[in-house]
């Protein structure tokens, strides 16, 4: 287990990993299942460097203080509690003497960022913790106008504590079981956002639902996607169609009583036409451009709120629909940081640690660059990126 974390070469290099709409025509997007699988695998294999230090104040007298840190190349799609067995075996058990090892309770373990003291939320994916740290650091020491060359990123330095988890900042009882529950909750919320119900997830047998979490826990791409492919949308071909006059629905009280009304309105407006009705219907029902909303959250540097809003896969352009892009989405969420072209943006967006191109389609991000829980986590940093 430890070899997998410590000797895997860093794949966090944004030059190799540029998500784009692969077709030269920005309207007809990526229908290629091989490239979908490629990007999903790149996300799965993505890792970030962590440097774990034990709090010296909590070490009992007979501890070995010579060994004070442990480097882990941790998967972006994983979670801190899942790293604990590795950290235990390769750091903690080596430092503590036998009596201390017997008495240490993993339930009380918690992590904080060494430099800032920010408590690490153990129910956030590790990739999100890292990207959030990246945008928060760049805001604090902003030197505008300097775009650094791509280099191996500095590790996220964490202090591991054994006792007294801050209960006002962390959900109580951070066990692997509560981590799994939180994960499944996010999977269901993503399912609900996409389709207006959670039937795809609740329709899975319990064994399959457990298989999702086990795939993350064991970091097995095939095991995970065997189940995930039943609930994640596929980026099928998008065909622009003519919209009616009242094209896109806005929230209104009638939607309170009928969750499906928004979904059916978007579907009826923007379902791609197909020459073969039978196969087209079946494909499009799970198509990325047919979801009613893509599960997206926007994270601002430390102290800022986490933003979540409906994200339609399509946008209007005159009387035609076209795929909703990252630039368009960020402009609606944060118009001052992302003004309309040709004005340059005052901020940048990281998705899975990569500077996402503004023309990236939101539907494609939802299908190919989401985390294991189905969410596209966009970290917005102010100024010029320093990665």
């Amino acid at each position: 287990m430890s070899h997998r974390y410590t000797t895997r070469p860093a794949t966090h290099n944004h030059k190799e990993f540029q998500p784009t709409s692969l077709s030269s025509n920005p309207r007809h997007s990526n229908p290629n299942p091989a490239s979908t699988s490629l990007f999903r695998r790149l996300v799965w294999e993505g890792t970030v460097p962590l440097e774990i230090h034990v709090d010296p104040k909590e070490l009992p007298a007979n501890s070995d203080r010579g060994l004070d840190s442990y480097f882990i190349q941790a998967p972006r799609v994983s979670y801190l509690p899942l790293l604990i067995p590795d950290i235990r075996k390769n750091l903690v058990d080596l430092i503590l003497d036998e009596t201390a090892i017997a008495s240490v309770k993993e339930d009380d373990w918690w992590f904080e960022e060494l430099d800032t003291g920010n408590v690490m939320k153990w129910h956030w994916p590790i990739g999100l913790l890292f990207d959030h740290h990246t945008i928060s650091v760049s805001t604090q020491s902003s030197q505008s106008g300097v775009l650094s060359t791509p280099a191996a990123p500095a590790p996220l330095r964490l202090t591991l504590h054994f006792v007294s988890p801050p209960t006002d900042k962390l959900i109580i009882q951070p066990s692997a079981e509560t981590c799994k529950q939180a994960f499944m909750g996010q999977v269901k919320e993503a399912d609900f956002l996409r389709w207006g119900n959670t039937k795809r997830v609740t329709g899975l047998r319990k064994q399959e639902q457990d298989g999702l979490w086990d795939g993350v826990k064991d970091h097995n791409f095939d095991d995970f996607w065997r189940v995930a492919s039943k609930i994640f949308p596929m980026p099928t071909a998008f065909v622009p169609i003519l919209l009616h006059d009242n094209a896109l629905p806005s929230p209104s009280p009638s939607h309170i009583n009928n969750f499906n009304s928004t979904q059916s309105q978007i579907q009826s407006q923007a379902r791609p036409a197909s020459t073969d009705p039978a196969s087209g219907q079946h494909q499009d029902r799970d198509g990325a451009y047919n979801v009613r909303s893509i599960p997206v959250r926007v994270y601002l540097p430390s102290g800022g709120p986490v933003l979540q809003d409906l994200v339609s896969p399509v946008a209007e352009e005159g009387r035609e629909s076209k795929p909703n892009t990252l630039r368009n989405f960020l402009h609606t969420q944060l118009p001052l940081l992302f003004p309309s072209p040709p004005t340059s943006p005052l901020a940048y967006a990281l998705v899975q640690g990569v500077l996402a191109p503004p023309e990236s389609e939101m539907a494609w991000l939802g299908a190919c660059l989401a985390g294991a829980d189905g969410w596209v986590n966009i970290c917005v940093g102010v100024g010029r990126p320093r990665i």
């Binding site: 529950q181 929230p251 309170i256 986490v306």
Partner: protein, 227 residues
Amino acid sequence: MYGEGDALGGAVAGWTWADHPMAPGYGHLHRTAFVKERVDPTHPADSDSLLSTDDEWIVDMDDDPSAAPDTQSNTPVLTVQQYIVYSPTFQVPALYFTIHDSSGSPLPLDRLLSTTLFQRPFPMTTTATSSAILLPPPDSSLSEPEDAPAPFPLLSQGDHPILGTPCWYFHPCETSVAVKELMDAREREQEQGRQPGSGEKLEGEALWLRWLKTWFAVLSTVVEMRS
């Protein structure tokens, strides 16, 4: 089944609006309430004792004056921070809360359930883990154990959508379904003349208000909402 006006007065009193410090307008409703742990030797504080003997919804909230009180005046007071927050995923309000004892420690789930925050008896069949209360899925008796659909969470822990701090929350899905059923039923009764009102479809603010009152009523079957 539910009345407007005075019957809900306690439920809707005492809420104030709070903005996120960095995002004016992006906020939630907040209220502080105080509850106690029930001390009743005949009903040990475990989830089984919270089940009603029938699976009916208990809707009569009036205290029976002849029943012995199950808290004592010297029982320590617990502080509940209640939040009504808009759930961006489910697009309806959701009730989030934290509950601490006098030393500031958060209560674990088993103690939480035996406080006066929760109605007794609990109006539905549930199971509890150490960190969530779950409702059984429908028709679970019909499947093989390994094929059985997983239970739905009713109450679990999550980040407050605005503050980002950990809270307990009731899953908006469940409450929304109940609210919709009640509103549909009331509409039908109005059409049949069994309820006051013209039966015209409400719109806009009137509809929102009716929805919110119904939501308070639904939550009140589970949580003590009077301030």
